[in-house]
Symmetry: C2
Subunit: 155 residues, 2 copies
């Protein structure tokens, strides 16, 4: 039973259905398959990657639909859009309440997540000094992960 951030896959698919119904959108075979694959993947995945993954089993599902479904998941609150330094749009399963930031290795590309309340509070404090009301923020660290850092030191 693959447990993912923010709830299990079944709960989330319910949430998607509710979202669709509420907006007058339709439940389709394609959306079901894509949401399923996506929600259990737990990655920071691009539309292209997601398309490749889905189309292995389902040749008839097109890239455009995958692309649109990921956008839809983001709008429904089940996914978050992220753009890191490579300038590709990535999606990750995430409920609206969750929040975390990222450590990105510039050597191996690994992405580590973290959550730090002190950091969030300090951000609010800094913004407050400028009379600035934060809606979202982007906090990313680029450098060497512990694996790549070790390897480098040995050289």
């Amino acid at each position: 039973m693959p447990q993912t951030k923010g709830g299990n896959t079944i709960d989330r698919k319910e949430k998607l259905k509710a979202f669709l119904k509420q907006r007058g959108f339709k439940s389709t075979r394609q959306r079901d398959i894509i949401a399923d694959e996506f929600l259990k993947s737990g990655e920071h995945i691009t539309a292209e990657e997601m398309y490749k993954k889905v189309s292995r089993k389902h040749r008839d599902i097109g890239f455009t639909t995958v692309y649109r479904t990921l956008k839809l998941l983001a709008k429904s609150g089940l996914a978050t859009e992220r753009v890191f330094a490579d300038n590709l749009t990535r999606y990750e399963p995430l409920s609206a309440e969750d929040h975390h930031d990222h450590l990105i290795c510039i050597n191996c590309g690994s992405i580590t997540e973290f959550e730090d309340l002190k950091l969030e509070r300090l951000q609010e404090k800094i913004a407050g000094e400028f009379g600035f009301r934060i809606v979202t923020h982007k906090m990313e660290f680029y450098g060497y992960c512990n694996v790549c850092g070790e390897r480098q030191r040995k050289k």
Copy 2:
């Protein structure tokens, strides 16, 4: 005498010349003009915007040269490349030693800069807990600046 971050324009143009010479690159009329306009502008400017600005006075200078010169300035350490949420590459005059982060208004687009040592230290601390060695980071706040925040409250 327009004083810009990280030194005056003349100093910086010296630095550029040194960089060019050291690498076997050439000093050209175009590079001179573009660097001049750019260094005294002090903005977060796109290649397109910079091109428009430059080409008003110098119709013969092409977009490609502006684009390439901005990249060159970045490599020489006189400019920093930034990509904010609109996904356009912007350049700002900046010496290598300087560092600051940004508050970006999602209503009026204004960009405010700040520097916070506590924040920088906390970032190091967090990274350290993962054995992660930071090379660069991206810290951006998106929300309402004090002007737009006020206006909104009045509605």
